[in-house]
């Protein structure tokens, strides 16, 4: 009896591990730029859609910030502006980077001070209902990327 429930539990765990092993989208090199005070921070990350179907990033949230929004900056016509983005399409087998001057996740209202070196989890919502938690490394204001 005990043995049987143990096997069942192991199968259950294996199932969970298997599901986590085959995500639709992989994320890497997440980092965010820490600004002084409680100014909003921009977060950057590289996505890769490893599946054969199109999927979109449709939202973001973080337990460490009051609000997270996907934005896109542009400097068209010599004007720097930002726009909110409802959906970022990731084509099948496609790659897309959130990087300074383009797509970024804007993190507002830090619930506790975030210092360079800290790690923050931002969870992205995908159009297929999947949740994609990504670890972001907090970097100094004048950092140029996830590492020096």
């Amino acid at each position: 009896m005990i043995f049987r429930s143990l096997v069942a539990a192991m199968l259950l765990v294996a199932g969970v591990v298997h599901a986590a092993d085959a995500p639709t989208v992989k994320a890497s090199d997440g980092w965010l730029r820490v600004l002084p005070g409680n100014l909003p921070a921009g977060g950057y990350v590289s996505f890769e859609n490893v599946s054969d179907r199109a999927v979109s990033i449709v939202g973001a949230s973080s337990a460490d910030y009051a609000d997270a929004m996907v934005h896109r900056s542009s400097t068209d016509g010599g004007m720097g502006r930002m726009e909110m983005v409802d959906s970022v399409p990731l084509p099948p087998k496609g790659k897309l980077a959130f990087s300074p001057g383009g797509y970024h996740v804007m993190l507002m209202g830090a619930k506790h001070p975030v210092k360079p070196g800290d790690k923050v989890v931002v969870t992205f919502a995908l159009s297929d209902g999947e949740k994609l938690p990504v670890t972001f490394l907090a970097r100094p204001a004048n950092a140029t990327g996830p590492t020096d």
Binding site: R33, S73, G77, M82, G101, A141
Partner: protein
């Protein structure tokens, strides 16, 4: 590069054809002005081989009355003897402003010792939220050679207009938070306060370092 004395803004012009707006009209006016001035007399003494856009003689000298990030009243004249890089932005800008200030920080580090004679002037286009204290913490997080400048709406607008720059406060996002769209140009002034060069945030760091070497060595001469 266009021919002798010529100035071209291909990126701006292409975009402006698509979306006419205040900033585009202002840029258009700037281009026409530069073209006219060039026709009337651009064949002067040989100029240094700039890689960025040469605006010598086409934009007014550095002049303003604002408050610096230590709360002190300052004017353009206070920066005589320093090469200055002026950029309009605001602290609640999480992406493009940090990107530009970081790029200027990297450029000044690469420039080395001559960078002691360079100041980044970060002018806030968001006087409502940007106090000298906030600006102080913000600019120093990027570079010790950066100075934050704040002023009244009218003062900042006058300065932006003087350099044919533009900014627009975007609608509130509902929680009191809002963005400000602003010109992304970086204005380079020589140590005498003369406008010399114009760069965009996408300009190459090599070109900026190259031109700053030239500009700081001009400044060293009496």
């Amino acid at each position: 590069m266009a021919g002798t004395g010529g100035v071209s803004f291909p990126g701006y012009v292409a975009e402006c054809r698509m979306k006419p707006s205040f900033s585009c009209r202002a840029l258009g006016a700037l281009l026409i002005l530069i073209a006219l001035v060039c026709v009337s007399g651009c064949q002067h003494e040989p100029q240094p081989a700039w890689r960025l856009t040469d605006v010598s003689g086409h934009l007014p000298d550095l002049d303003f009355r604002l408050t610096d990030d230590n709360g002190k009243a300052v004017t353009g004249a206070d920066f005589k003897g320093k090469v200055t890089l002026m950029y309009f932005g605001y602290t609640h800008c999480p992406d493009v402003c940090p990107l530009t200030l970081t790029q200027l920080h990297v450029v000044l580090d690469r420039l080395g010792a001559p960078a002691d004679n360079v100041r980044i002037l970060f002018v806030s286009v968001d006087p409502k939220r940007d106090t000298p204290e906030i600006m102080h913490a913000y600019v120093n997080a990027f570079d010790k050679r950066a100075v934050g400048l704040v002023g009244s709406d009218a003062d900042v607008e006058a300065l932006a207009k003087r350099y044919r720059s533009a900014f627009t406060r975007e609608p509130d996002r509902g929680d009191g938070a809002y963005d400000v769209s602003h010109s992304s140009a970086i204005y380079f002034f020589d140590a005498q306060g003369k406008a010399r060069l114009l760069a965009t945030p996408s300009a190459s760091q090599d070109d900026m370092v190259h031109d700053l070497h030239l500009l700081t060595s001009l400044g060293a001469q009496p």
